[in-house]
């Protein structure tokens, strides 16, 4: 199906987005398998997890001793926090894409070229 010819920055954004989400998704599956089969020990024993997930966030953090912020990075050796690395990666993908297109936009000039000649001003 023919469509609008995407701009250079749009194609660059799409390529990096595609690569990022594939890496993130595969990584999530691998780390989840590690967690599910307890190939690495978990911070919260899986059979106790449900009782913690019923708590509100405040009580959960208090009972588990987990701190907010980037504290979870220090727990990456536990299998239940390993997937956080990939979840964080997926959250960063769009930011990487913006940095990817910045040089293209700077090269073209930040002021966009309006490419719709039908409209007169």
């Amino acid at each position: 199906m023919a469509g609008l010819k995407p701009t250079e920055e749009q194609l660059a954004y799409a390529s990096l987005l595609d690569l990022g989400r594939k890496i993130g998704f595969i990584g999530l599956v691998i780390t989840f398998i590690i967690y599910l089969f307890q190939l690495l020990p978990s911070y919260i024993p899986p059979n106790e997890l449900l009782s913690y997930l019923k708590l509100n966030l405040h009580d959960y953090l208090e009972k588990t001793g987990i701190q907010q912020g980037w504290y979870w990075i220090t727990l990456h050796r536990y299998s239940d926090f390993l997937p956080f690395l990939l979840i964080c990666f997926l959250s960063f993908v769009t930011i990487f894409c913006f940095f990817r297109i910045l040089p293209i936009l700077l090269k073209k000039g930040i002021k966009y070229t309006f490419y719709c000649p039908s409209f007169k001003y």
């Binding site: 701009t7 749009q10 999530l28 899986p46 959960y60 997926l90 297109i101």
Partner: protein
């Protein structure tokens, strides 16, 4: 949608409601603590797989269905369900985004300015949502879901809205484009108007998306299409792509607040993504109208559940 279909939708919702009440308000198996721990990710995977199919067939975002249903009928605290809902919406948008951008259906120049205000809104919404008492969040969630249902019922769509010319902001940002509509075999030149009002609305949409962990397609598309005058295909595609940016902002709030559990998030993400793939394949042979009625009934039930739960009437 005709009167019969609206009545059918409410009937489906009411039947499900009554059935739930008859079984004590919650499906027994879902609160059965004698289930082995691995049963939960499995149940969640199967449930979200079906949800992914239903969402595609019903033409609704899975995020809108995920949070109220999982929050209402699974034994997880809403704080964790919202975080998971946000990530399922994010991964769905990340999956669809590249294809839509490459085909030129999603427009980067339209999305970027809108995503700035929506992202700020999402961050604010996420912070507010995690600070509010749970019963208030449930009440607001219920009202929002019921409102979404009404919007979906009543919102009109315009395939090619008439826009006389871009407003000053749209002109300054160069928002506009051309795409070839295969059904007409001609080029469609489009631009947008009413951008200032749209920016305010997108900020509000962002707050709601961040607060409840919902996707925002139900609101993005009407604003893009009916208010700004974006052709429907571009509006839908750009909306999907926009979610990948909006939800990213709120995602960090939930991640660093601790409101993420891989046991909930990952099976949900995998289930919905696989379900969506199957849903697209079934779409050719399914009757979307029937599914849409069922989905709207489900929204009615889950919205009502969240509202009554928040008010302490149906716990």
């Amino acid at each position: 949608m005709g009167r019969r279909q609206i009545l059918a939708m409410f009937a489906v919702g009411l039947i499900l409601c009554i059935t739930s009440l008859a079984f004590g308000g919650e499906a027994q198996i879902l609160t059965n603590s004698s289930l082995p721990w691995w049963a939960w990710p499995l149940i969640l995977f199967v449930f979200t797989f079906v949800l992914g199919i239903v969402a595609v067939l019903g033409g609704v975002g899975s995020g809108v269905l995920y949070v109220p249903i999982v929050g209402g009928f699974f034994p997880f605290n809403l704080d964790f369900v919202r975080g998971a809902g946000l990530f399922t919406a994010l991964t769905g948008a990340l999956s669809a985004g590249p294809g839509l951008l490459r085909r030129g259906l999603a427009d980067l120049r339209l999305a970027i300015p809108l995503s700035v205000v929506t992202s700020v809104g999402a961050i604010v919404g996420a912070m507010i949502g995690l600070a509010l008492p749970k019963n208030l969040v449930n009440t607001l969630l219920g009202v929002t879901i019921l409102g979404i249902m009404i919007i979906m019922l009543r919102a009109k769509k315009s395939e090619f809205p008439e826009v006389k010319g871009p407003d000053p902001i749209a002109k300054a940002l160069g928002i506009g484009g051309i795409y070839v509509e295969p059904s007409l075999g001609k080029e469609i030149h489009w631009t947008v108007h009413r951008t200032p009002i749209a920016l305010v609305l997108f900020a509000i949409i962002g707050i709601m998306a961040g607060m409840f962990g919902l996707g925002a397609g139900w609101a993005n598309v009407p604003v893009l299409n009916l208010l700004m005058g974006v052709p429907l295909k571009v509006a839908v595609s750009t909306s999907v792509f926009l979610l990948s940016i909006t939800d990213t902002s709120a995602a960090f709030i939930y991640l660093n607040s601790g409101a993420i559990s891989p046991m909930i998030v990952i099976p949900s993400i995998i289930g919905i993504m696989l379900g969506a793939v199957v849903g697209v394949k079934i779409l050719e042979v399914a009757k979307p109208k029937v599914i849409r009625i069922m989905v709207l009934g489900l929204l009615f039930l889950s919205g009502l559940r969240a509202l009554l739960k928040g008010l302490g009437i149906w716990n």
